[in-house]
C-alpha cells in the first residue's frame, strides 16, 4: 500500500470507534499503528484489527449505553424490514411471470396489486408479503 495512504486508512478506521474510546486511546492508537507500519506490519492487517476492535467496542454492552444499543438493534431491524419490503414490489413482476402458468387463486398472485373492494392498499401489500412467505401455498 502507498505509504501516505496507509496512515490515512488507519485514521479512518480509528474514527469508527466510539468518541469515549477515541478520547482515551485515539492518539496512542494512531502512534502505535505508525510504529507497527514502520516495523513492516501490513496496513490492511492493522486496519482490520482496529475495525474488529471498533465493532467489539460498539457491541459490548456498557452501563449507560443499553438504550443506544437497543436503538441500534431496532434501527437495523427496521432497516432490514424496509429493504425486504422495498425488494418485494421489484421482484413481484418477475415472480408473477414465473407463476403465471400456476393456476392458483387469483387473489394469491403477487402480480395482482389491485386491492379488492374495501381493502386498503396497506392490507393489499401485506397480502403480497404473506404470499411471499407462504411460497405460493394457498392463502
Amino acid at each position: 500500500m502507498n505509504e501516505s495512504r496507509a496512515p490515512r486508512l488507519v485514521e479512518t478506521v480509528l474514527r469508527c470507534y466510539p468518541a469515549r474510546w477515541r478520547r482515551r486511546h485515539g492518539e496512542e492508537a494512531a502512534e502505535l499503528a505508525a510504529l507497527l507500519l514502520r516495523d513492516g506490519t501490513p496496513a490492511g492487517s492493522i486496519a482490520g484489527s482496529y475495525l474488529a476492535g471498533a465493532a467489539r467496542e460498539w457491541l459490548t454492552p456498557r452501563p449507560g449505553r443499553r438504550l443506544s444499543t437497543a436503538a441500534c438493534a431496532l434501527l437495523v431491524a427496521a432497516g432490514s424490514l424496509g429493504v425486504s419490503a422495498g425488494l418485494l414490489p421489484s421482484t413481484a413482476p418477475a415472480r408473477a411471470a414465473v407463476t403465471s402458468q400456476h393456476h392458483g387463486p387469483a387473489h394469491c398472485r403477487p402480480g395482482s396489486p389491485e386491492p379488492g373492494p374495501g381493502v386498503s392498499p396497506a392490507l393489499a401489500h401485506l397480502r403480497v408479503i404473506s404470499w411471499e412467505t407462504g411460497h405460493g401455498r394457498s392463502c
Partner: protein
C-alpha cells in the same frame, strides 16, 4: 493450595481470553505501554497481537481491576499489573500447570 471451588482461589481468568492472559504475563515483570506489550508478547509467546485486540483486552482487564494505567508518558499510556491481577494470574497459571501435567501423564499412559 486452595481448591478450584474456593472463591479466593477461583480461576477468574479462565474466560477472559488468551490475549488478556498474555498481557498479564507480559506486565508481570513491570509496566509497559501498547507497543512494548505487542513486542514482548511476540517474543515470549510467538503471538502477534493486533492493536485492536490489544486495546480491547486492556480495557477489559482494567474494568476487572487486574491492571491500571500509569500517568501518560508523552502519548503512551503504560499499564501495570495490580495485586489482584497478579493473584489471578498465579491461580490461572497453576490451573494450566495442573491441566498440562494431566495431559502429559495421559499421553504417557496411552503410549501414543
Amino acid at each position: 493450595m486452595s481448591g478450584p471451588n474456593d472463591r479466593a482461589g477461583q480461576d477468574v481468568l479462565r474466560r477472559v481470553g488468551e490475549a488478556s492472559v498474555l498481557i498479564l504475563i507480559s506486565l508481570a515483570d513491570g509496566p509497559k505501554h501498547g507497543y512494548a506489550l505487542i513486542q514482548d508478547i511476540k517474543e515470549i509467546a510467538g503471538v502477534e497481537l493486533g492493536p485492536g485486540t490489544l486495546y480491547g483486552a486492556l480495557d477489559r482487564l482494567e474494568r476487572l481491576g487486574m491492571i491500571e494505567p500509569l500517568p501518560a508518558d508523552d502519548r503512551r499510556h503504560p499499564y501495570r499489573i495490580t495485586v489482584p491481577g497478579a493473584a489471578a494470574l498465579r491461580v490461572h497459571l497453576e490451573s494450566l500447570e495442573r491441566v498440562s501435567a494431566a495431559g502429559r501423564l495421559r499421553l504417557q499412559l496411552g503410549g501414543i
